[in-house]
């Protein structure tokens, strides 16, 4: 039987950058096809070609054996190709229902000329949300007000509501918690069994293992290999992706830091009913994780500690000195201060059209300037060493960061903050959309920073990461810390249990 989709010889160049070179992909009905590759391998570009967003320089696309042209997203949509993009394509000012029904909504009176039937649209949206297990999202809510994980669910519901023949998911689960992932996977399997072809991209290897039927690996824009899932070990796959051998993922944890004075001590911190009486202490050299279901206040806590919220009560001390964190500028403290790796790199971390140079040195510009005058040499030297340290792949430092792949952009965000030499680093899901190789470098980097006596507070939606990286994990539920896990008690089971606030203390390891 011919596969539903066949792409051959797809090439795409951006100026001097090779995004795809003779790439190919074939996927069949009733199969979930995983696409793997490190950051910048060209996965998203491949998806965008299929979605009609990007026009390839060369190559052919066949759908059900017929050659097809995809000049714009609308054409792809008509052909039954529906995508969930890495950068979400939701409309923040519109309601969830409007978003889900944005293309081809139900109409009153006449199928093409009638006005939009809002009731029918709302029913349709409710059904789609319920189907992916996001029934908690109100269809009239504005997407702008939803946290990233809920938005991702809306995006998936939106894709499914369009009755695709071919569904493309580009890191669609990167911000989802385990529970959401599970319910999305249930639907995806159901759809596969109904005969859909699904292309699935994720940097989380266990998701690939769990879901994929076939795999294709790309490297540097080229197709490396395709094989049925399970025929290769994950070590082999990673080797294909990064082109070298791959060691154990997490760097070793040193023993607990001594009982010296905490770098960050928070007492009784509350905010707007969304954070309740948070107490926490992080010593220099410690990596403390924030866990729990998404949206339990973890992101707000990080923002509060960074001075980005108003009306926060409670006390915060840095190295024993009480500080008022009434604005981010106030986190600039003698000896380094506090850094925040924000949630959304595109809008919060970077000035996309500006150069890598300007982005990297932006937060630390004071170090290279006297009386407001920038010393470009000092700046360049510092940038060069940061690029080396993080292995940022960029076509020179004067190109816009927008041209970097997602993972490299994330590295720029991290580099931007490392340049300020912070003593306390708040990380808001920093590995979202980062490939395994880079992730591993990042874990190593975090540990090095901790060894360099920085204190890290690390929120992640990935439990493995929390377990592998953190000395301690605080589980938040409804804005309060409900459990603290460390040592042997730091297991996936315990995290999941306390995340749902099921545990009475003791059932899953008592807090110290």
């Amino acid at each position: 039987m011919t596969p539903l989709l066949r792409m051959e010889g797809i090439s795409k160049h951006y100026g001097g950058v090779r995004a795809l070179e003779g790439a190919r992909l074939a996927c069949a009905r009733g199969r979930i096809h995983a696409v793997l590759g490190e950051n910048g391998a060209g996965k998203s570009t491949l998806i965008k070609v299929l979605a009609g967003v990007v026009q390839p320089d060369a190559g052919t696309i066949e759908l059900a054996g017929e050659p097809i042209a995809l000049p714009d997203p609308a054409a792809a949509s008509r052909a039954g190709i529906v995508s969930v993009f890495q950068e979400l394509s939701l409309l923040p000012d519109l309601s969830v229902a409007d978003n889900i029904g944005i293309v081809d909504p139900p109409r009153m009176w006449h199928r093409t000329w009638g006005p939009i039937d809002r009731r029918a649209q709302r029913r349709r949206a409710e059904a789609a949300l319920a189907r992916v297990g996001a029934g908690d999202i109100h269809p009239l809510a504005q997407v702008r007000d939803l946290p990233l994980s809920r938005r991702q669910m809306v995006e998936i519901a939106k894709a499914l509501a369009r009755d695709p023949k071919l569904l493309l998911l580009d890191e669609a689960t990167s911000a989802l918690t385990a529970a959401d992932v599970a319910s999305v996977f249930r639907v995806l399997r159901q759809l596969r069994d109904d005969g859909l072809a699904i292309v699935f991209i994720s940097h989380r290897m266990q998701e690939i293992a769990e879901l994929a039927d076939d795999c294709s690996v790309y490297r540097n824009g080229c197709h490396v290999a395709s094989f049925p899932a399970g025929s290769k070990t994950s070590g082999e796959i990673i080797e294909m992706m990064i082109g070298r051998e791959h060691e154990s993922v997490f760097p070793p944890r040193p023993g607990r830091a001594s009982s010296e004075r905490p770098a960050l001590a928070v007492k009784n911190l509350s905010w707007a009913g969304r954070l309740r009486n948070i107490d926490l202490e992080i010593r220099p050299g410690e990596v403390v994780g924030l866990g729990g279901l998404d949206g339990q206040g973890q992101r707000d806590l990080l923002l509060a500690l960074f001075g980005a919220l108003t009306g926060v009560t409670g006390s915060v001390a840095v190295h024993g000195v009480p500080v008022t964190l009434s604005s981010p500028q106030r986190t600039r403290l003698p000896g380094g201060g506090i850094a925040l790796i924000p949630e959304d790199r595109k809008t919060e971390g970077l000035m996309l059209p500006m150069s890598v140079r300007e982005n990297l040195s932006f937060a630390a510009i004071d170090q290279f300037s006297r009386f407001g005058w920038i010393d470009r040499r000092a700046e360049e030297a510092a940038i060069a060493s940061m690029i080396r340290l993080l292995g940022i792949r960029a076509d020179g430092i004067d190109g816009p960061v927008a041209a970097l792949s997602g993972g490299n952009q994330q590295k720029v965000v991290i580099g931007k903050w490392l340049m300020t030499r912070p003593q306390i680093i708040l990380l808001n899901d920093p590995t979202r959309g980062i490939d395994v190789g880079t992730k591993q470098e990042l874990y190593r980097l975090l540990r090095e920073l901790a060894d360099g006596r920085a204190a890290l507070l690390f929120y992640s939606t990935d439990y493995d990461e929390l377990i592998g990286c953190c000395d301690r994990v605080l589980i938040l539920y409804d804005g309060a810390i409900v459990n603290v896990l460390e040592g042997d008690a730091l297991t996936e089971h315990n995290i999941v249990a306390s995340a749902h606030n099921l545990t009475a203390a003791g059932a899953a390891g008592a807090p110290p």
Binding site: S77, L91, P92, I116, Q142, K158, A272, E348
Partner: protein
């Protein structure tokens, strides 16, 4: 937040949240207008209402014209010029037999639509920034207006004009009927149409809208065409109010700027994606009533411009009270 959390109450809360702008503008207008009529020696008479309605409807139509491109995160700086140019045209062609008057009205509307279409083309096909593209086309329309009417004058069928600017049964100003009709016949269907919603989608995020397969080009084009249409309706109404035409660049400029202020006071975001014509209409009436306050308070003639400026500043700043409720400072920055 209310304690009620039933599904109805929840729906109502979302509804309220998305209609806060128009409600506030309407409340502000009613308060100001109440002060005005209580102080007016003639009180709430048919004449007073008619005068206020005619003056308000003019700006309201221009401001609705402005609203639609603004929803797409664009801007139409030519609405004032189209307003003036159609005024000049109408003062030439809307006269004669009833048939000729009808044809004249149709011609004026068609020309307004054509101006809007040119704007749309420049923005969509030319891919120029709307703010600067319409600044340029606005200059061109102003030039055409001068060419049509080098000096003030012209005429309009007086029966037609008196009817349009009069009141039905001396109670309901016909200009308000026109306004309501424009909302019911044009705005509401537009709001409910795919292209209307596409305008909101584009304003919200053009990139995301494109990736979702929203018909961007058509929706933007239509937005400018509708702007031209509403501006032409306003030009026609102006001709009825003045019985004449004048290619006055200052008038066009002041309407363009007032229209933007009305859009903002009416709760539409200049960044696009949210708001609508109803709020804008109240916003326009708020702005128009500011001038009427000169009647109410006895202000030294040479301090009047300062007074108008201060009241304008206060009304456009009222929206910043919402800042007091913002809990997340990050949300202040886009």
């Amino acid at each position: 937040m209310t304690a009620v959390t039933g599904p109805r109450a929840q729906d109502a809360r979302y509804w309220l949240a998305s209609h806060r702008g128009p409600i506030l503008a309407a409340a502000l207008f009613l308060a100001m207008f109440a002060v005005f009529v209580t102080e007016h020696p003639a009180g709430l008479s048919g004449n007073v209402v008619n005068t206020a309605a005619n003056k308000g409807a003019l700006l309201a139509l221009v401001a609705v014209a402005q609203t639609i491109p603004v929803l797409t995160a664009g801007l139409d700086l030519s609405v004032g010029s189209v307003f003036v140019m159609t005024n000049c045209l109408a003062s030439t062609v809307v006269t004669g037999t009833p048939r000729e008057v009808g044809l004249g009205v149709a011609l004026v509307v068609v020309v307004g639509v054509a101006c809007g279409a040119l704007n749309g083309l420049v923005v969509v096909v030319g891919r120029l920034q709307p703010i600067i593209a319409t600044l340029a086309t606005g200059a061109m329309y102003q030039g055409i207006a001068l060419w049509l009417r080098p000096a003030p004058g012209g005429e309009i069928d007086e029966d037609f004009a008196d009817f349009v600017t009069g009141s039905l049964g001396d109670v309901i100003p016909f200009s308000i009927v026109v306004l309501i009709a424009a909302v019911v016949v044009i705005w509401v269907p537009y709001r409910r149409s795919v292209l209307g919603r596409a305008a909101y989608a584009i304003g919200s995020s053009e990139q995301a809208a494109y990736m979702s397969g929203v018909p961007i080009a058509r929706a933007k084009f239509l937005a400018y065409v509708l702007a031209g249409l509403f501006a032409a309706l306003a030009g026609l109404l102006l001709t009825c109010v003045t019985y004449s035409g004048e290619a006055n660049a200052l008038l066009g400029g002041s309407y363009t700027l007032s229209s933007i202020a009305a859009v903002v006071v009416g709760g539409t975001s200049l960044y696009g994606g949210s708001g609508g014509a109803i709020g804008t209409i109240f916003g326009a009436f708020v702005l128009r009533t500011i001038g009427d306050l000169l009647f109410v308070f006895d202000i030294d003639p040479l301090s009047q411009p300062l007074f108008l400026g201060v009241v304008l500043l206060i009304s456009v700043s009222l929206g910043s009270f919402r800042l007091l409720r913002v809990k997340k400072r990050l949300d202040l920055y886009r």
